[in-house]
C-alpha cells in the first residue's frame, strides 16, 4: 500500500521547460504491469500499441507486453509483474517535438515510418527509453527509469532550447 503523502516522482522537484515549439511535462505514477505469456487482453502487432479500455497495451517483444493504466489503477493479470515504480513518464509535444527527439534517437520518426499507436524500446541520448507516440500532433511519451530521469530531463531541456 502506497502512502500517498510520502511518494515523490523522480522529476517532482525538477523543472521541465515549455515553449511555443516544445512542451515537456512529467506524467508521474502511471500504473505499469509487465506481462509475459498468454494475455487476457487485446494485443497489438509488433512495435504497436492496443487500447484496452482506459489502458494501453504496449508491445515489448514476442509474447511480452507492458500494460499502462492511470495512477491508482489496479489489475491482476496472470504472468503480470507490477513495474510501475520502475519508470516515470515524460510527455513531449509541440510542433518541434520530433526535432528534439531526432537529436538523440536513431529511429526513423518521420510519419512515413512512425506515428500514433507505435512504440519502441530504444535509446535516447544513450539512455534506454520506451518511446511511445500517442498522437500525430505530435505527442510522444518517454518512459524512462527513475535513475535516468534527471539526466534525460536535462538533456531534453538542452535539446529543446532553440524551439522554446
Amino acid at each position: 500500500m502506497t502512502v500517498e503523502s510520502l511518494r515523490r516522482s523522480p522529476l517532482a522537484d525538477h523543472p521541465l521547460v515549455s515553449g511555443s515549439g516544445v512542451r515537456l511535462v512529467e506524467i508521474p505514477f502511471l500504473t505499469a504491469v509487465n506481462v509475459q505469456g498468454a494475455p487476457g487482453f487485446p494485443t497489438p502487432p509488433a512495435s504497436g500499441v492496443a487500447a484496452w479500455g482506459e489502458r494501453s497495451v504496449l508491445w515489448l517483444g514476442p509474447e511480452e507486453w507492458l500494460v499502462v493504466g492511470p495512477d491508482g489503477d489496479t489489475f491482476d493479470l496472470p504472468g503480470g509483474v507490477d513495474v510501475s515504480a520502475n519508470r516515470t513518464t515524460i510527455e513531449l509535444s509541440g510542433p518541434n517535438a520530433r526535432d528534439v527527439l531526432e537529436k538523440g534517437c536513431t529511429l526513423d520518426l518521420h510519419p512515413r515510418a512512425f506515428g500514433a499507436g507505435r512504440c519502441a524500446q530504444t535509446t535516447l541520448a544513450r539512455s534506454q527509453v520506451l518511446l511511445w507516440q500517442t498522437s500525430n500532433a505530435p505527442v510522444y511519451r518517454l518512459m524512462v527509469r527513475g535513475s535516468f530521469a534527471h539526466y534525460l530531463a536535462d538533456w531534453l531541456t538542452d535539446a529543446a532550447q532553440e524551439y522554446l
Binding site: 509488433a46 512495435s47 515489448l60 517483444g61 514476442p62 511480452e64 536513431t106 529511429l107 519502441a120 524500446q121 530504444t122 535509446t123 534506454q128
Partner: protein, 83 residues
C-alpha cells in the same frame, strides 16, 4: 553507423546490441566424461573464419531477445537474421 536488423524490431543501431559469439555451440551431452583439454576446447575455442560466420546477437537495448545471424567478417555485412 552500422544497422543490425533485429528479427523482431527491424533495423536498429549497432549500439543497441551485444555480441554473443559463435552460434550453434552445443552444450556437451556428458561434460563429466570430458578431459580438461576437451572442456577447454568447448569453453574457449571458437572458429574465426574470414567470410560468412554464424553468430549470436542480443537486442539488449530493445526487445532483449537473442537471435542468430550470418555475418560476413570481412565486410561486416549481415547476410541473414533468424529468430
Amino acid at each position: 553507423m552500422l544497422l543490425i536488423r533485429c528479427p523482431w524490431c527491424g533495423e536498429r543501431e549497432e549500439t543497441e546490441f551485444h555480441y554473443g559469439g559463435q552460434a550453434h555451440v552445443a552444450y556437451p551431452p556428458d561434460p563429466e566424461a570430458m578431459t580438461d583439454a576437451e572442456w577447454a576446447e568447448y569453453l574457449f575455442f571458437r572458429d574465426n573464419p574470414k567470410g560468412v560466420f554464424a553468430e549470436r546477437w542480443v537486442h539488449s537495448a530493445g526487445c532483449r531477445r537473442w537471435f542468430n545471424t550470418l555475418r560476413d567478417t570481412v565486410t561486416s555485412e549481415f547476410v541473414e537474421e533468424a529468430r
